[in-house]
């Protein structure tokens, strides 16, 4: 298809002069694009078909893999069953039998599902064959199972009872030998028992394990037992027990016949399992492997086919793409060339026509497209141009006469123009100087006609210069002022920060003081309590003193009474003494007769004397005691007075302490208020600091703005630098703000310094 298109393009080039070249431009472009679109549609269709076929082959691949999977499952399940069958063959266990039967069901299911999945007929045939073979295998297996069951019944029903009977027969013989005390009989029967045991054991093993060597051992043991027959016979005939021996050997013969039957059945089982079933199994496995193999090769085939198809599609799409690109390029070249060439030619013709070469030929007039129309229009232009040239040559004559008049006027005009040029040049120079910032520039020596212009220009520049001078001065002042403000703002900011810090410290100190005052108030309250307690104590002490005074008075009273009593005693003693003296006198008068009485009287007098003395002493003591009691009363009274004074003073102290407590409380309240105020101050200071910060930033930006203004103004050259008188006049005005700035600065400095001191103090 791509080849067709190329061929079409070739034919188009060949006949371009006649057919393609005469098509209209739009048609040509549309033709090109339509062919490219057709090509693209073809490529898309082809790609779709290819992808569809790949999808189909992928489906087939999927099916094949699925089937392979099923077949593998059959193989796996069958292997399982074989394992169980083998185990059963060896052990004969019921569990192995059950496993084998279960596996059989599984194999059947797998085979059925594999057949259901498979579509390919040859594979289906193979699977059906597998199914048939497996049926045979299963039948044989069932046969084996039946045989095994029969053998088991046979063993339990016939072999075992016969064996028991043999054993009993021999034991009877042994017992007979023992009863007779015949050593020959004992020996023979013992050996026979041993052989019988071996024989039974080997038979059991042969039947149980399907063991061929055990079967042989059984035959050997049997012949051995038979070999004992004559010996037994001869040994027991001596004691008339020969009949028992012959009966035993009849049983032996029947046992042997039964055992041979059982062994034969066993052999059949072994041969079935080992030969027939094994062969079947091999065949089934081979078939399954074949099926798997076929599936694998089929898959490989499909895979390769798919890869090939993909490669084909890729190659085709690539080829189509390249072909399409080439065709598009060729078409674009042809269309572009078909349009551009005639247009270039017509353009060249038009250029030469514009230059006045009216004798050129206009190409492509015979074309029927838009270019042809254009060419025909150009031809019209050309004819008109030729006509105009003829008219022009006529007018040239008339123009020549006018030319001479014009040259005369031109000379005059040139003079004027020179003057004008001169003026313009000067003005230009001045304006250039002005533009470069030189405001000292002036224009001079203008012709009379332009004198007023010069004056106006000079006036304008003068005005501008004055203005700029003033601006320069102001900006200088502004710059220095802005600098001052920035400096001041910095200082203010720093001090505000210091103030804020001090205020914070003050707040902290105030907090401490508040705490201290509160403690003081508490202490004062405590002291108040203590003082009250002291006052109560003092009052109690006063009462105690009163009681002590009363007690003292009582003592004094008692002393007085004692003194009176003592006086009575003294009186009595005195009277007694007088009586004794009288008695003594009477005794002395009585003479010798009264001698004894005189002694008694003397004794009584002595007693009276002693009693009087004692009374006197007591009196003295009592009076001393009375004096001391009196002194004590006085002292106690003084103590009472002192206590009363103390009480009064304590009262005063209590009052003072209460006042102290109240004032401490007030102080605390006041301090709290002060604290609040300080905190507010702190806050305000913080806000001030922030504002000052902003002001500082603003002043700095103002400063930089002023500097920029200064720099901009410095770009202008002013008369100040040239030393022109007009600028001299300006100077004082310019210097004025400077001086005021200086003055204010001085003032500010003077004002600031004490302020700084104050702050430092603060």
């Amino acid at each position: 298809m791509a080849g067709d298109i190329t061929k079409g393009a070739d034919t188009a080039t060949g006949s371009s002069r006649l057919s393609f070249g005469n098509l209209r431009v739009g048609t040509r472009v549309a033709t090109g694009f339509v062919s490219i679109v057709i090509l693209l549609a073809l490529a898309c269709g082809f790609s779709f078909m290819a992808v569809k076929s790949i999808s189909a082959s992928l489906g087939r691949l999927h099916e094949s893999i699925e089937v392979e999977d099923r077949v593998r499952k059959v193989d796996r399940d069958f292997l399982d069953m074989r394992r169980y069958v083998r185990e059963f063959g060896i052990s004969g266990h019921a569990s192995a039998l059950a496993g084998a039967e279960k596996a059989e069901v599984a194999v059947r299911q797998s085979i059925n599902s594999a057949i259901a999945e498979t579509r390919a007929p040859d594979r289906l045939d193979k699977l059906r064959k597998v199914q048939t073979l497996f049926d045979t295998y299963a039948a044989q297996f069932h046969r084996v199972a039946d045989l095994h069951a029969a053998e088991e019944t046979f063993v339990s029903r016939e072999i075992d009872p016969l064996g028991e009977k043999l054993q009993q027969g021999l034991e009877t013989l042994f017992d007979i030998g023992q009863g007779e005390g015949n050593s020959d009989q004992l020996k023979a029967s013992g050996s026979a028992i041993k052989s019988l045991m071996t024989m039974r054991l080997q038979l059991d093993r042969a039947l149980e394990r399907h063991d061929a060597s055990a079967a042989k051992s059984y035959a050997v043991a049997m012949s051995e037992l038979n070999a004992f027959a004559p010996k037994l016979q001869s040994a027991y005939e001596a004691t008339d027990h020969g009949a028992s021996v012959s009966a035993f050997y009849v049983t032996v013969a029947s046992f042997n016949a039964v055992a041979a039957k059982a062994l034969k059945a066993d052999e059949e089982i072994v041969s079935l399992i080992d030969t027939s079933m094994a062969a079947l199994a091999m065949e089934i496995a081979q078939l399954a492997a074949d099926a798997v193999h076929v599936s694998e090769s089929e898959q490989e085939q499909i895979e390769q086919g798919t890869i090939k198809a993909i490669e084909n599609v890729m190659a085709s799409v690539l080829g189509l793409g390249v072909a399409g690109l080439m065709i598009a390029c060729v078409l674009a070249w042809f269309i572009g060339r078909g349009l551009a060439l005639p247009i270039q030619r017509i353009t060249a013709t038009m250029k030469s026509l514009a230059q006045g070469a009216l004798d050129v030929d206009v190409p492509a007039q015979d074309k029927r497209d838009e270019i042809g129309e254009m060419a025909r229009a150009v031809q019209v232009f050309k004819i008109q141009g030729q006509r105009a040239r003829e008219l022009e040559s006529e007018a040239a004559q008339a123009r020549k006469t006018a030319e001479e008049e014009r040259t005369k006027a031109d000379a005059e005009r040139a003079a004027v123009a020179r003057e004008q040029a001169d003026v313009v040049e000067q003005l230009g120079v001045s304006l250039a100087a002005l533009a470069s910032g030189d405001l000292t520039t002036r224009v001079r020596d203008f012709p009379d006609a332009y004198r007023q212009l010069a004056t106006h220009f000079n006036d304008a520049v003068d005005k501008l210069e004055q203005t700029m001078s003033i601006i320069a001065g102001s900006s200088l002042g502004m710059q220095s002022g802005a600098g001052e403000i920035a400096q001041a703002s910095d200082d203010l900011s720093r001090r505000t920060e210091q103030q804020a810090a001090s205020l914070e410290e003050t707040a902290a100190a105030l907090d401490e003081i508040t705490a201290t005052v509160r403690t003081t108030a508490q202490g004062a309250h405590h002291a108040q309590n203590v003082v009250a307690t002291a006052r109560v104590g003092a009052e109690k002490s006063g009462e105690v003193v009163q009681r002590a005074v009363a007690a003292m008075s009582e003592i004094a009273k008692s002393s007085t009474e004692i003194g009176q009593i003592i006086g009575v005693i003294d009186e009595i003693a005195f009277q007694t003494s007088l009586l004794a003296l009288n008695a003594g006198v009477e005794a002395a008068r009585a003479g010798e007769a009264g001698r004894g009485f005189a002694v008694v009287a003397s004794e009584v007098r002595a007693l009276a004397q002693r009693s009087a003395d004692a009374a006197r002493e007591i009196k003295t003591l009592i009076s001393t005691s009375s004096n001391q009691v009196a002194a004590g009363v006085t002292l106690v009274g003084e103590t009472g007075a002192a206590l009363t004074r103390i009480s009064t003073q304590v009262q005063e102290v209590a009052g003072i302490v209460t006042e102290i407590a109240a004032s401490a409380q007030e102080q605390a309240t006041g301090l709290q208020q002060v604290n609040t105020a300080v905190n507010q101050m702190d806050q305000i200071t913080q806000q001030n600091a922030a504002m000052v910060e902003e002001a500082t930033a603003a002043s700095h930006s103002l400063k930089s703005e002023a500097e920029r203004l200064q720099a901009m103004i410095a770009r202008f050259t002013l008369a100040g630098t040239a030393g022109r008188p007009s600028v001299e006049v300006m100077r004082p005005r310019q210097a004025m703000p400077k001086r005021t700035v200086a003055a204010t600065r001085g003032n500010a400095a003077r004002k600031l310094e004490p302020a700084q001191d104050d702050w430092a103090e603060f």
Binding site: E571, F574, Q575, S577, L578, L581, N582, G584, V585, A588, R589, G591, E592, A598, S602, R605
Partner: protein, 153 residues
């Protein structure tokens, strides 16, 4: 009476104190010893006559011994004692400070009044007893008591 017989050997003396000094009398001349009872003064009586008291219904003149022995007049208290003495038929009460003792002394212990003393003094003092370092005058009651004429008057 027996005491008169025994007088050569021993004598019983009553010691009393008057105006701080000790004097003594023969106990046989003492009739009674009494406590002070206020005496009724006698007008125009000698200053050593303190007055009279009622002694069991009998008017008994009281002689202030201190004044009588040339010292100041006694201001009697409860502690003062009246010694009722008798010589012959004259009886009077002697106001003294106190009766201090009754003692028995040997007669030779009473020494005669020295001659150096005046006749008046010698008439009042019968003898001086020096005993245990003390000098005690034994008064002559006859001289001390007022004459009976005066007493009778």
């Amino acid at each position: 009476m027996s005491s008169n017989q025994a007088s050569p050997a021993t004598r019983e003396l009553m010691l009393f104190r008057c105006d701080g000094r000790e004097f003594c009398l023969d106990i046989m001349q003492v009739r009674d010893i009494r406590g002070w009872t206020p005496a009724t003064p006698l007008p125009h009586a000698p200053d050593y006559m303190h007055g009279v008291i009622n002694l069991r219904g009998q008017v008994l003149p009281i002689v202030d011994m201190s004044t009588r022995l040339g010292c100041a007049r006694t201001r009697p208290t409860d502690k003062h004692v009246i010694i009722v003495a008798q010589t012959g038929d004259r009886i009077a009460g002697l106001l003294v400070e106190a009766v201090s003792d009754v003692m028995t002394v040997a007669s030779d212990q009473i020494q005669p009044t020295p001659d150096l003393a005046s006749a008046l003094a010698k008439s009042y003092v019968q003898g001086v007893l020096a005993i245990e370092g003390r000098m005690i005058c034994m008064l002559a009651l006859d001289q001390i008591l007022p004459p009976s004429a005066e007493l009778a008057a």
